[in-house]
């Protein structure tokens, strides 16, 4: 084994351990008391078409946070449509306590104005946020969200962005309560929202 192979093996082992620890932590968290996932998530400030928006602006409400981009033809609209389906099932007094945020992972193409038009199509209560590359990277890191622009010289302006497709359900105290995976039905969003509203 040469030096670089040893290094790689060490890195691989380390990553494997991280995955195991995270996995066990996740499972324990699932069964434990409802305290939420304090190590994931947290406060941020990003730009909307109407000015800066902070997560803490919605303290007292349940917030759904999804990461995506408007150029996304399928995965993001599918997730947002499922959220819309869920929001439409809520009673007006429940809906008044829920906010949905789409954070762009494509700040080069997604201007605050474009995002605002885009999210309004799904539900009037949704807000689209973007920022500088550094700001987006910081928020993604906080939420352990991965994203990467696809390097394809032929794609040109039509490049796509790989990204995690998890929706975060944030409690009234701004702490992450649960995760909803891509492919979830409107009903699954309804139950995740209602559980968070009860806390």
């Amino acid at each position: 084994m040469n030096q670089s192979m040893k290094y790689r093996a060490a890195v691989a082992l380390f990553l494997l351990m991280v995955v195991i620890v995270a996995g066990v932590g996740y499972l324990l968290g699932q069964k434990g008391p409802v305290e939420g996932f304090k190590k994931i998530g947290g406060e941020f400030v990003l730009q909307s078409a109407a000015g800066p928006v902070a997560l803490s602006d919605f303290r007292g409400k349940v917030v759904l946070i999804s990461f995506g981009y408007t150029f996304c033809p399928d995965v993001c609209p599918t997730s947002l449509a499922a959220i819309t389906g869920g929001l439409n099932q809520l009673a007006p007094e429940e809906l008044a306590q829920v906010k949905t945020i789409l954070v762009s992972v494509d700040p080069d193409r997604d201007t605050p104005k474009k995002l605002a038009e885009y999210v309004k199509f799904f539900h009037p209560s949704m807000v689209g946020l973007t920022g500088s590359h550094e700001e987006i990277a910081r928020v993604a890191k906080q939420y352990v969200v991965l994203y990467r622009k696809v390097e394809d010289p032929e794609a040109g302006e039509y490049y796509s962005v790989d990204h995690s497709s998890t929706t975060f359900v944030i409690g009234r105290d701004s702490v992450v309560r649960s995760f909803v995976q891509h492919g979830a039905t409107p009903d699954e969003f309804v139950s995740a929202i209602r559980t968070a509203l009860l806390d």
Partner: protein, 156 residues
């Protein structure tokens, strides 16, 4: 006279058979049946949309889709989604195989026809013309409705 009639019958029979042959030989455009096709309605300002459908190869020969074109987008491609490294990745597929006697489903979260650089916004009630080219060079143009997607159904 008897003979002449037999020859005539034979001739007519052969001619009919010959005429019927091309259809049986398997032109993809004739043999691939397309059902449940629709284009996704997009939000204002969106630069992309997607079409979904069920393609059924009713023939006895394998076929494949190799290209698509439409006035809806400047670039039309086939794409697939793969979940990898914790990310949803969308990648171009050069060919969609349509084995004989099977059906292939293009659906949200999976294979789709992707329209990029939209020339107009597909809205509910609109129709979109889409031309599909098969590996054997045959083509079919379908006119499909634009629909809203109410959230995805779970797959198993």
């Amino acid at each position: 006279m008897f003979r002449v009639k037999n020859v005539l019958t034979l001739l007519i029979f052969s001619a009919t058979a010959a005429m019927g042959l091309p259809a049986h030989a398997g032109n993809a455009a004739d043999e691939v049946v397309i059902n449940h096709a629709y284009v996704r309605a997009t939000p204002p300002g969106a630069q992309t949309s997607a079409a979904f459908m069920v393609l059924e190869n009713s023939g006895e020969v394998d076929h494949a889709l190799v290209a698509a074109s439409s006035g809806l987008g400047k670039k039309v491609e086939f794409h697939n989604h793969i979940m990898e490294e914790g990310m949803m990745k969308m990648r171009q597929v050069m060919k969609i195989e349509l084995p004989a006697g099977t059906h292939v489903t293009l659906e949200p979260g999976g294979l789709h026809v992707m329209f990029m650089g939209l020339n107009q916004r597909p809205e509910m009630g609109d129709t979109v013309a889409l031309t599909l080219t098969f590996a054997d060079g045959s083509e079919t143009t379908i006119t499909i409705p634009v629909k809203m997607i109410k959230g995805m159904k779970k797959h198993g």
